[in-house]
Structures are given as C-alpha cells and as structure tokens.
C-alpha cells in the first residue's frame, strides 16, 4: 500500500489495471459473439495484454506490480465457492459417494499421469511439480502448487492451457465414449477442465453443468487438503 503513495506507482496500477480489465471485457464480448474454444477469453486476454507489455517495453514485474490487487481477489473468490456448494446440497446428499469416488479416481489419475508423462519426456524438478495440480481451478491449483514445491505462476499457466484444451478434448472424449449418465458427463468436464469445462458442461445440460461446477469446487478442496500428504510423499 505504501507504494501507492508515489505517483509513478499509482500510474502503473491505473494503466495496467485498465489494460487488463478493458481487454478482459472486450474478450468476453468477442467470445459471446463467436463462441469458439480458441477464442476463449482465457487465451485471448493474456495474449492481448502480452502484446501491450512487450510493445511498451515493460516487464512482467512492472505489470504484476500494477495488477497484484486483482490476483488477491482470488482469495474472496475461493470463499465465494461456498455459495454453489450450498445451492447443490441436495445433489451432494444424493450422490456424494459416487462423486467422491470419481473425484478421488480423477485426481489420482491427474497426479500420477502428469508425473509419469513428465518423467517420460524428460521434464523434472520444478516444472514437473508445477504440472501436478493443473486439473484444478486456479485458486486451488496455485495453493497446492506452492504447498508441494512447484511455482504457482507456472501452474497458473498450465491451468489455463488445460482449460482451453480440455473444453475441446471433452467433446472428443464424449464423441468416442458415450456416457449414459449426466453425472459422468458433468464430472468429466468438472475434473478434466475446471472452469472452462464447467462452462461447456452447462451448454450440454443443466445437470451436467451443476455436477461439473460442484466437482470442480470439491476436487479443489479435496486436493488442497491432500496436498500436505502428497508433498510429504514426494520428498
């Protein structure tokens, strides 16, 4: 907060916040008109901002110095997840054993296959650790990444790639393997592609959307709670 007192720092906050929020609003509008997976605001917004940062010969340090307050809002966003969980309490009460089993199986698959595939192609150290939590929604993923010794910034990037790819991959998987239950279709998107997947699941059906959102949140919680254990095993 001290740094806000200097006009230079205040200008930086103003400039980069406006650039970020402006491009985000524009990207959302573009996506609403042309809903293609590669036009996802998740991909378009950072790309546009990166052009400006590079164009102005600024650095990531300048940029994040002006926008850190936005990242801080991820904290309240985590708390806000209480609302959808509360709204879905009937669904949870009815299907919790099935959903829990799916989440445990899916999370284990995410961690194990990320680790194994990364090792197979010769990625190790911080990169490999940062890949493990990428199936989760960002606030949770960044938390877990820090816990297990990864770099939260890198994980944020991997989460975004997972989301963008996952929206498209989910459709491919569903086209190959036909799943009869809406629970399965929703869990597939919620676990595989977090927020983007949840948005896609909402387009498929109401139950799918609700299940995806719920699974996304609960799997984040589950993993944050399990992270200390995983961290212990990795050491």
């Amino acid at each position: 907060m001290m740094s806000l007192l200097s006009p230079e720092a205040a200008g930086r906050v103003l400039l980069w916040s406006l650039v970020t929020i402006g491009f985000y609003a524009a990207a959302k509008r573009i996506y609403r008109r042309w809903p293609r997976w590669w036009l996802s605001p998740l991909a378009v917004t950072p790309a546009l901002i990166a052009l400006v940062v590079v164009g102005l010969h600024a650095s990531y340090r300048d940029y994040i110095g002006g926008t850190r307050w936005l990242v801080l809002l991820l904290g309240p966003a985590t708390v806000a997840f209480a609302f959808p969980i509360y709204e879905q309490r009937a669904l949870i009460r009815r299907h919790w054993p099935v959903l829990l089993a799916g989440m445990v199986a899916g999370s284990a698959t995410a961690v194990l296959t990320s680790w194994a595939l990364a090792t197979a192609v010769g990625l190790d150290g911080v990169l490999r650790l940062s890949l493990l939590p990428r199936s989760m929604s960002t606030p949770f993923a960044m938390e877990v990444s820090g816990d297990i010794g990864g770099v939260p910034d890198l994980t944020a990037i991997f989460v975004v790639i997972t989301g963008i790819a996952g929206g498209a991959l989910g459709d491919l998987v569903l086209a190959r393997l036909r799943f009869g239950s809406a629970l399965a279709r929703g869990a597939l998107f919620g676990l595989g592609a977090h927020g983007v997947g949840t948005a896609r699941a909402h387009q498929i059906g109401q139950t799918e959307g609700a299940v995806a959102g719920l699974v996304m949140v609960l799997v984040g919680l589950l993993n944050v709670l399990a992270a200390p254990l995983v961290a212990h095993l990795l050491r």
Binding site: V71, P76, L117
Partner: protein, 154 residues
C-alpha cells in the same frame, strides 16, 4: 462480522421499514448491493486468513473462510440472498483475477520451444486420461447404485 444481524433482518416484515434498527438497515442494503456482498465475502476471507494465522492452522485462509460461510448458510444465520449476487459476480469473473498471473509466461522464456511442446504433450494426454477415468468411474458406480435404489438422474 455479525451474522445474527442478518437473521433478524430477514425475519422482520417490510411494513416496519421506517423503524428498522440499524442492523436490519445494513442487511437490507447488503441484499441489494452486489458490491457490498463482495465486501462481505472478502470480510469472510480476511476472517479466515486471520484465524489461520492466529491458530496456526495448516490450511489456506480462503478455505477456512469458505467453511465459515457454509456453516453460517447451513445454520440459517446467513441468508443466501445476502451473498448470492456478490458470490456469483466473483465466480463469473474469476478469470479476470488470474489473468495477471498467466502473464508470468513472459518471464519464462524456457517454455517456448521444445520444453513447451513437451509440457503441451503431458497436459493433453493427461487431461484425456483424467476425463476418461473420472467418467468411467462415475458411470460404473452410478449404474451400480441405480440398480439397488432410486432411479438416478441421467
């Protein structure tokens, strides 16, 4: 943070409006302002952070805040309409909050080139596996549980 206030506000009929006590007036204000609701959610986050610090809990503060809000919703001390719009706003535009973190890619030149391709390969393949395993597990179990009780939704 005075959760009791919200209950008393919600229970009061609208006819008594002019004589509303201050707590009820605040609650009514909160019900109509998404921005105040965001503030309320942020307050719970700060409370969670404070609890984690003070008690030395091995949990993220946001999670404690989430549990706090869930407990208050479940016990009826916090009404859903005092939270709904703020929470939905935070969640709908959550993307915006981590856009700055994604720009860290500018500081990671090592991701461009072969390393980036390897990472992409890992992410794509692993994501497909996660999806297939999750959906197969849920499908198998819900078919199995459908067999012995109520018809599952599908």
């Amino acid at each position: 943070m005075k959760p009791i206030a919200f209950r008393s506000a919600a229970a009061r009929p609208a006819a008594t409006r002019p004589a509303l006590p201050r707590a009820a007036r605040v609650a009514r204000l909160v019900r109509h302002s998404p921005l105040l609701q965001v503030g309320l959610v942020a307050g719970f986050w700060l409370a969670g952070e404070a609890m984690v610090r003070l008690l030395g809990l091995p949990l993220p503060g946001g999670l404690v805040g989430l549990a706090l809000v869930l407990a208050l919703l479940a016990s009826g001390r916090l009404k859903r309409q005092n939270l709904r719009r703020g929470a939905q706003w935070l969640l709908a535009d959550m993307l915006l909050f981590f856009v700055p973190a994604v720009l860290a890619v500018l500081d990671h030149g090592e991701l461009i080139g072969l390393t980036g391709l390897k990472i992409l390969f890992v992410i794509l393949l692993s994501t497909v596996m996660v999806m297939v395993v999750t959906a197969l597990t849920v499908e198998a179990l819900s078919r199995w549980s459908r067999a012995d009780d109520e018809p599952a939704l599908s």
